[in-house]
Symmetry: none
Subunit: 286 residues, 2 copies
Amino acid sequence: MIDVIVVGGGPAGVSAAIYLKRFKLDVTIIMKDYGTLGTTDHIENYYGFPEPISGKELFNNGIKQAKRFEIPVLTEEVLSIDYFDTFTVKTNKGSYESKIVLLATGASRATLRVKGFSEYTGKGISFCAVCDGFLYRGKKIGVIGNGDFMLEELEVLENFSQDITVFTNNMPLEKPLEHVKVVDNKIIEIKGNDVVSSVLTENSETPIDVLFMAMGTPSAADFALRMGAFINKNDIVVDEQFMTNIPGLFAAGDCIGGGWLQIVKAADDGSRAAFAINKYLRKKPM
Amino acid sequence: MIDVIVVGGGPAGVSAAIYLKRFKLDVTIIMKDYGTLGTTDHIENYYGFPEPISGKELFNNGIKQAKRFEIPVLTEEVLSIDYFDTFTVKTNKGSYESKIVLLATGASRATLRVKGFSEYTGKGISFCAVCDGFLYRGKKIGVIGNGDFMLEELEVLENFSQDITVFTNNMPLEKPLEHVKVVDNKIIEIKGNDVVSSVLTENSETPIDVLFMAMGTPSAADFALRMGAFINKNDIVVDEQFMTNIPGLFAAGDCIGGGWLQIVKAADDGSRAAFAINKYLRKKPM
């Protein structure tokens, strides 16, 4: 039986795996793809890299780093995780038993099923106000969302522009908004040429220079949810030791939310989760 | 006036500075040397580096990264920080005003590896002339140190007593000293009963009532202490927003302790402190 299966090969997962290995635990990473990190072109704010690095490059660095530690990295899609004293992780290629599962799958971001959304993702549609907001100083900024995530992004974006429109896509605003325009009807299409230029809703068309997605994120928490772990919106609820309410089920990185979805935060989460897992395993005879 | 002066050029300081710059704040880093990171040969567990990297290399990467963001990096020794609505940071080369100071100097506070040092710390061994000097009016005062930091402390202590002995612990005095006795050989033991009573060196034993540590450069905890910030052992006490009890004085990284002195934790601290500082500055009109 494996000590720890880490689901996810991004900053949280790899950072955790390396620390776990350092603690002399038997750890395996199961990952599907580059995740959110792979969609990022240009990372400048992760400490230690003098020149910008692409998300894919950083991701690959991480995988190489894990392999140098002789940590098995399986590229398989996790289909289900069952819990009964120990964990059974079923993938599209096999089934694995472990004492501990660490979910580090990132926050699979909500997408909008409207015309133009995929086309302009990365071309004026952004998923991170802190990362990209500064590029749009004084510009027309659009934000899609209706809850806390949107409010967090808004707070960041208000540093850069006074011209902000929130698109709720026909969802009710969870809290009233001041100082910004609100378009509360359904989004029909994201328009643009090379880059985004406007949002067409049922009642209006609003010119914008950039559109930030701040809608909730579903499926990252699904596994946890199926095992009966507590979820707060789309974030897996963990205690200070990064453990969910399921004994032995841990989570780290963007999938536990916290509003600060930064690479360095995910990597730090991972290291701390590893520390906690080690403590947990040493205490509990299995 | 500078928005934020970051004291320290390691992972916490640089990570903070980069995020602060991204928030469009005017930030300057003041640093002295490689700090603890420079003493580390072989870093394998910081996410994103497939091959081991030396502490110095990582440190230099960080400085290059900061410079690419056009953040001024001053290699100067901070001697004192004063607070009166705004901050005045005095170095060996100049004086700088800022709205915010972020202490990110790492954990190193000078200790003496001699018998009695740990035992009498807090029992006549003090780390802050401004804090404790007045308690020893007219008493025999000892000061350990040989450079600018010692001179700073001496200036304070001369208000309280004429009977001052400087112990250089076999280090050369950086500047000649007047009006005080100097014992320039190696310290063997700090003696005392309930409290400190004398300093034994290779050549002599000098009776003292109190001993002030002013070796090397002041640590973050030393600055914080002098401004009236709360310290727990050697760790600066901060709230969840990384702010000390002094409005506008923040701290991040190893200097706030927490028992998990990892690079990734320091870098993460820095990014979060930047987030909090930005929030704080936007709320508070200055």
